[in-house]
């Protein structure tokens, strides 16, 4: 499916234009307040090395899209600075726009136009013309498996096809930095797996720096070399998924109580156990960490039973990103994701 010559030429282009000594993306103390006093970003900072896949992981309303909007020059921060591809997003917006590709959380495909027309217009906007444009469009259509449907109006595309067209449109001008805001939200598992492969391939074979936002822990874990966990407009933890997880020693214990009213009683009796660390309670679920989960669980259960607290279920697991989030944000990711405002 991949044209080897074009890939080589792409690699050549991107290696000659990228500046390895500078981070590809740098956000410093971004603050953004929306009308009605919503503080979407609260001194958010991070940096992304060139050629890496960087994940911004956060629940609904964490500020991921706001960050992407600022970095892609759509929106302006109230304060703070950001550089993309070595260029200031405020002072050099026009040049930033040439250097980046953006796949927004919303599709961005014109549903009344065909796939080919969408891609062609996108290419023209970036200054591609004539046979060069034609070739690039045909190449992308083929690579994203859209050549059969190329001349159909995109209204008739499936969700996965539309998302692939979105990505193709973001790539038409060979950007050096690619922003993808929740690229797999709403896709079925198969389409999601395909998209993951494509994203990994873009970074590996074309040397594109990719900033990806997601609220799928698994996606961040699988794709991102480094990630920043965002909560309420701030970066609460940053590192590789492995680093973040290994900072949490031992096992994670989740205990779901039969009755939410018992939560504070359970918390007080369990906090006296020295085997348990970092005890957090979120409505009726208790989270704790232990060096050896298997031996600690019976002790904890016995303690709860003698206090008259009924337990509905217990799980012991290696730390996941969910636990990392819990540790830094003080609430469970899933709860935050449901409770967050859109």
């Amino acid at each position: 499916m991949i044209l080897v010559e074009t890939l080589n030429s792409v690699r050549h282009q991107s290696s000659s234009s990228s500046q390895p000594e500078l981070p590809a993306i740098e956000a410093r103390n971004l603050v953004k307040t929306y009308r009605g006093d919503v503080r979407a970003l609260d001194r958010l900072s991070f940096r992304v090395e060139a050629g890496a896949i960087f994940g911004l992981l956060g629940p609904n309303g964490a500020g991921k899209s706001t960050t992407v909007k600022i970095l892609t020059t759509l929106s302006r921060p109230d304060s703070g600075e950001a550089r993309v591809a070595g260029l200031d997003v405020l002072r050099d917006a026009e040049r930033v726009r040439h250097a980046i590709g953006c796949i927004g959380q919303k599709s961005g495909v014109d549903s009344e136009a065909t796939g080919r027309e969408n891609l062609t217009l996108q290419g023209r906007v970036y200054g591609l013309r004539g046979t060069e444009l034609k070739r690039r469009v045909a190449e992308l259509l083929e690579r994203f498996g859209l050549d059969q449907a190329a001349d159909r109006v995109t209204r008739t595309y499936s969700g996965g096809m539309q998302r692939r067209l979105d990505v193709a449109m973001g790539l038409v001008h060979h950007p050096s930095v690619l922003f993808m805001d929740e690229p797999t939200t709403g896709l079925d598992p198969e389409a999601r797996a395909d998209m993951w492969k494509e994203i990994a391939r873009l970074a590996r074979e074309e040397g594109i720096t990719i900033l990806l936002t997601t609220h799928y822990l698994e996606e961040a874990d699988r794709l991102a070399q480094r990630l920043a966990i965002v909560d309420r407009g701030r970066v609460v933890a940053e590192g590789s998924p492995e680093e973040l997880k290994s900072e949490l020693r031992g096992d994670t214990i989740h205990m779901e109580l039969a009755q939410a009213e018992d939560a504070s009683k359970a918390h007080s009796v369990l906090s006296r156990l020295e085997e348990l660390r970092e005890l957090v309670i979120d409505t009726r679920t208790l989270y704790a960490r232990a060096d050896r989960g298997a031996t600690t669980v019976p002790i904890a259960l016995a303690t709860l039973e003698s206090a008259g607290v009924k337990v509905a279920s217990v799980t012991v697991a290696r730390p996941s990103l969910d636990d990392v989030y819990l540790r830094y944000a003080g609430r469970s990711f899933r709860e935050a994701d449901q409770g967050g405002s859109r």
Partner: protein, 257 residues
Amino acid sequence: MRTLAHSFYMTLRHFRNLMRQPLYIAFTLVQPIIWLVLFGQLFKKVVLLPGFGASAYVDFLTPGVVIMTVLFGAGWSGMGIIRDLDLGVMDRFLVSPVSRVALIAGRLIQLALIAVIQSVLIVALGMILGARFPGGARGVGLLILCAVLLAVPIGALSSAMALVARKEETVIAASNFILLPLTFLSSVFMAQNLMPGWIQAVARFNPVEWAVVAGRSALSAHMNWPLVATRIGLLVALTIITAGLATRAFRIYQRSV
């Protein structure tokens, strides 16, 4: 140069999408047909009123219906912007190096083309219904120019409003609120000197009135050159101002996202 090229591509985009739904233009002609036939019959005798000044009502009505049709078409053009906002198409363009002017210009050029097509068809329809225009081809050409010069600023305003309000309901409400009064506070249906004094006074500031008066004069046997020229001048000025406003509206939009 870049702005010109981008405007061309954007016009192409809108026109192509329009061509995909040829019924759209047909639909926009249903109402004018009703106006022409119904009002033409209903108010046939109105020309007998002393001082009306036209020999047949359909002669008088046709340019009015041209202007009104174009006005309503233009007034709804903000809906296209809303659609692009909802689809995410607008945001995608705004993070690309596309010229902001082209994003508006493409729409306005398409609107102008639609206005020309509609005007020609309605004039033809009027003639089928018996209208006669002593002003001839030049007169019809000037009427079409007036129609375009009304469509473009109204379309620009509608687009600007869509960018600022970002909500379909607001655009619908505002269009309803503005378009009908603009029509009835003008001589689209009724001769100027038969309108109540206060309406005449208000109509002097109404761009719909500028367009309809100039267009009608151009179609008459003795065109009032100074009148036509000043009204066209006013419409051109309005076009420039509103196009500027619409381009600026992108900044307001981007501040709110």
